[in-house]
């Protein structure tokens, strides 16, 4: 057994203190140590984007960094967005526009898009395509995601007005 390191990470607003091997991937830490299995692993080599989480607010592939590197940082996963009963507007829009099929890639897309929508409250089709270009989806052909993101932008703007 390699030496264990104690890390403190804030995940979805909760502080966790855990002892981990230095080689433990952040994705495995989130999924198996913390039981937050909404973050998915599709390739473990940084290319599919299914494992995307927010790391200090920025999208990051959790299969590409170690849990120890998250010590003292803040992570947000898909579980932070909404619940089945009260979904985030982006989640609602994904459902309404049929932007997911198997849903395995979806948490990665959502976590890429949440900060994108904050920076681009009214994105063009081209901006959306660029934004999701680093995430792979085998089921949908991406087409419906474009409409979903535009719908989400509208929903979010409407909520802000109220």
């Amino acid at each position: 057994m390699t030496k264990l390191y104690t890390i403190k990470v804030k995940v979805n607003g909760t502080e966790y203190e855990r002892s981990v091997e230095p080689r433990l991937l952040l994705s495995d830490f989130i999924r198996h140590d913390l039981g937050l299995s909404g973050t998915h692993v599709g390739c473990e080599h940084g290319l599919c984007g299914a494992c995307t989480v927010l790391f200090d607010g920025e999208p990051m592939r959790s299969c590409l960094i170690f849990a120890v590197q998250a010590n003292g940082h803040e992570v947000q996963t898909v579980e932070s967005l909404g619940t089945p009963e009260h979904m985030h507007p982006l989640q609602e829009a994904f459902s309404e526009k049929h932007a997911l099929q198997c849903g395995f890639c979806t948490p990665g897309f959502l976590m890429t898009l949440v900060p994108f929508l904050e920076k681009h409250p009214d994105p063009t089709e081209e901006e959306i395509r660029e934004a999701i270009d680093g995430n792979l989806c085998r089921c949908t052909g991406y087409q419906n995601m474009i409409g979903a993101v535009q719908l989400a932008a509208k929903k979010m703007a409407a909520r802000q007005e109220v």
Binding site: S37, H98, N135, C139
Partner: protein, 782 residues
């Protein structure tokens, strides 16, 4: 949302769980005391195993056990043939060499498992790879399909005389006579290379053996839960009822997850019994690329005989089909190629011959499209070559030969993957072509836009092709529909779900019949504890076959509810109706009994049971079609080729499809769009490339390019032609593979059209910018 839901674009019941990370996939399941498995796999594609020494691995802390073939004794034996041999076809030859669970004596493809390591964590299991010493004697690899059949070629299976796995010839009419009468006979060599299913979720299996109840629970990301359960039970000598296979949410299937005899399927159940601890194995992406299954390696020598008016007199196709190192899935893929080569067109004389070949590459089983895309590719290319020879418009030559809408049902004379003669049940191919041509703006593009663009030095081209998709094949599926005391409806069926939307489509079918809210229908798929008869999810049959069984079962429940309702409400049966979760008197909905109450009343209490009655508002039904229904369509696209980089952008794409009755148009379109992206990948991005040593050169997403959002067309137009199938009550046909089938053929035509000045004739797929560059160079050198 009760009332009319069938045919509506209802949002999906499953979405809220998937979107919030609540849906449980296989790797999300953790059991107390669970161990983890990893497979040490062969780097060589073809080699004799001299020795495997695992002693050091066993000493590693955290390693619980290590197994090689020798440890399994008589339990080691090749897996079942998952699909019967093609004996229904006269004169067919087929040599079954099914998958072995773990290599013994020799390895036949790179990635074949050599040792199974069980450890306290996956990290430790993989650490142990370095502790195992394997001694192997490399052998020459068989990779090239033609060389594989040359005398003296190394043998993949040394007990066979050659690498020929199967040979099937089918003919209708007499091609040679037709060719003798033709004005033109055009011959080409056409090749199609491999692609991966590449579901975003890899495969996985979790086995939990309970030593006290002697029951086994298996979670599997399988497309075939019932066949998997049956083969595991049979191998272990257990009753089927002692083994329960549960499919959690599955992250895409696309074909390779249909296999039930991979190393994990066979070995983990017995090891879990031996160790009496749960064991989980999750495939990683590299293993998925190397050692699951893949598809689409064929080489065709094809010819077409036409008159000077462009009427097709005959087609002949002799092709090699690579089955990889084993052939556990029989001949499904090449038979699909045979049935889909000429299916859109009136081709009176057709001869198709396949030589299926063993090679030292990954096993070939269906991947979305499953043999159909190459049949369509060959045929559509032949028509394009003929059009070019005759100086005829590619759309016009197709129009002249398409099967007419008054020709159904049309027997084809060719036996397919379901071992019955293919019959085209319904459709309207000319209408599909007409609509696609209209949607893409063909005439305007050819007559006005293209000449202008060419004058500006731009290279834009257009392509239009037709295709069919044999769907909804047998044997059968079944379903149980139950009304609960909560007034909600439960549906269970044996097939499993990989993202198609079954939880919603099946709910729509049941809700329509029983007059309940679609959100009040709970659907369970792929859990043998709930329903344990059926075949699996393949060949776009989920809606057409399982959906039909659900419809039948729901109708039976409806009948039961009406009968009981008539008794309880004191009105004749024809005055009882179901709506809003109630059984009510027609015309007076204030007189009703709720479905939940009815469900309780349908369970007889002491002294009230009538002989012959079946308790519960529940029914089981099965459905099996005599042959599959055939979906079809036409695809058109406009591409922009950059002659410098040879990059190709699909600017606009139009697809018109007929899948019979649309249960949920939004989901149908989702299936088409997803299929198209796979077709686009197959046309220009994805390639599983093997070198001459049987080494896979593209075993990661770095080298195997999956289409990304920016690779998709700027504009996609969808059109439907709805010609209900007469083969099931609701008129449904499948659509799952449609988008993937015609795309490479259409892409090739459009690229040729864009580069019209270089007389390019494309006869291969997939393409890539560099390959296109080479082809253009060759064609201009000529």
């Amino acid at each position: 949302m009760s009332g009319k839901v069938f045919g509506q674009s209802v949002t999906r019941n499953e979405d809220p769980y998937l979107l919030t990370g609540k849906a449980e996939f296989i790797d999300d399941i953790e059991l107390p005391g669970m161990l983890h498995a990893a497979f040490l796999r062969s780097d060589y594609a073809h080699a004799r195993i001299k020795s495997i020494d695992v002693s050091q691995a066993l000493k590693r802390p955290g390693v619980v056990a290590v197994y090689t073939a020798a440890d399994f004794g008589d339990y080691w034996r090749p897996g079942p043939l998952q699909v019967p041999p093609p004996t229904a076809i006269k004169g067919s030859v087929f040599h079954a060499r099914t998958l072995v669970p773990i290599a013994k004596d020799k390895v036949r493809f790179s990635g074949e498992p050599l040792a199974l390591i069980i450890a306290e964590s996956r990290y430790i299991a993989e650490d142990a790879f370095d502790d195992i010493i394997v001694e192997m004697e490399p052998l020459d690899a068989v990779v090239d399909l033609e060389k594989a059949l040359e005398p003296g070629a190394p043998l993949v299976h040394e007990d066979l005389e050659s690498n020929l796995a199967a040979h099937v010839v089918q003919e209708r009419g007499n091609y040679e006579e037709a060719a003798a009468k033709a004005d033109y006979v055009i011959k080409r060599r056409i090749s199609v290379d491999r692609c991966a299913g590449a579901a975003m979720e890899n495969r996985g299996l979790l086995v939990d053996w309970n030593d006290r109840t002697r029951e086994m629970t298996i979670w599997a990301s399988t497309q075939a839960p019932i066949p998997l359960r049956n083969s595991i039970a049979a191998r272990l000598g257990l009753f089927e009822s002692q083994v329960r296979v549960i499919t959690p949410y599955i992250g895409g299937g696309f074909g390779p997850k249909i296999m039930t005899s991979q190393a994990d399927d066979v070995l983990l159940p017995i090891v879990a019994m031996w160790l009496n601890r749960p064991i989980k194995w999750i495939e990683d992406r590299r293993e998925n690329f190397l050692a699951t299954t893949s598809e689409r390696d064929q080489l065709h020598y094809a010819e077409i005989a036409v008159t000077k008016d462009g009427i097709i007199l005959g087609v002949k196709d002799m092709f090699y089909h690579n089955t990889g190192a084993y052939d556990p899935y029989g001949m499904t893929v090449p038979l699909n190629t045979q049935t889909h080569t000429v299916s859109n067109y009136n081709v009176p004389n057709f001869k198709t011959e396949v030589k299926m070949v063993f090679s030292n590459t990954m096993v070939v089983t269906p991947v979305r499209g499953a043999g159909r895309p190459y049949g369509v590719y060959v045929m559509e290319r032949l028509i394009d070559y003929a059009a070019c020879e005759l100086g005829m418009d590619p759309v016009e030559i197709r129009r002249r030969n398409l099967i007419r809408s008054d020709q159904y049902p049309l027997p084809t004379g060719i036996i397919g993957q379901d071992f019955v003669e293919g019959v085209l049940d319904s459709g309207d191919y000319p209408e599909e072509l007409r609509k696609a041509v209209e949607l893409i703006g063909y005439e305007k593009f050819i007559k006005e836009e293209q000449p202008r663009l060419r004058a500006e030095g731009k290279h834009k081209g257009i392509g239009v092709v037709c295709f069919t998709e044999g769907t909804s094949v047998g044997p059968y599926e079944g379903a149980r529909v139950t009304v609960g005391a909560n007034g909600k409806v439960n549906v269970s069926t044996g097939i499993s779900t990989q993202g198609q939307g079954h939880f919603t489509v099946y709910a729509q079918i049941a809700a329509e019949e029983l007059g309940v809210d679609v959100r009040d229908v709970n659907v369970t798929t792929g859990d043998t504890g709930h329903f344990h008869w059926g075949a699996g999810t393949f060949a776009s049959r989920g809606t057409g076959v399982a959906g039909s069984a659900i419809h039948l079962a729901a109708s039976k429940v409806r009948q039961k509810a009406i009968k009981l309702g008539s008794k309880l409400l004191g009105v004749p049966e024809d005055q009882v109706e179901l709506c809003d979760g109630k059984v009510c008197v027609a015309g007076d909905h204030s007189r009703f009994i709720s479905l939940g109450e009815m469900a309780m009343k349908a369970n007889p209490t002491r002294g009230t049971f009538e002989q012959g009655a079946e308790p519960g508002l529940e029914a089981v039904a099965y459905f099996g079609p005599p042959y599959g229904s055939t979906g079809a369509g036409a695809l058109a696209m406009i591409v922009d080729v950059d002659p410098g980089s040879m990059d190709v952008k699909i600017e606009k794409l139009a697809i018109v499809h007929d899948c019979g009755t649309l249960v949920n148009p939004m989901l149908v379109e989702g299936q088409i769009l997803g299929g198209l992206s796979m077709g686009i990948g197959n046309a220009f991005y994805e390639q599983l490339k093997y070198d001459e040593n049987g080494q896979l050169l593209t075993a990661s997403f770095m080298d195997y390019l999956l289409p990304q959002a920016t690779d998709m067309p700027d504009e996609v137009l969808l059109g439907h032609v709805e010609r209900p199938s007469p083969l099931n009550e609701l008129g449904m046909k499948g659509v799952g593979e449609a988008g993937a089938i015609p795309t490479p053929a259409c892409f090739a035509q459009a690229v040729e059209n864009a580069l019209a000045d270089c007389k390019l004739q494309i006869a291969e797929t997939p393409l890539s910018p560099s390959r296109l560059f080479e082809l253009v160079k060759k064609s201009t050198e000529k």
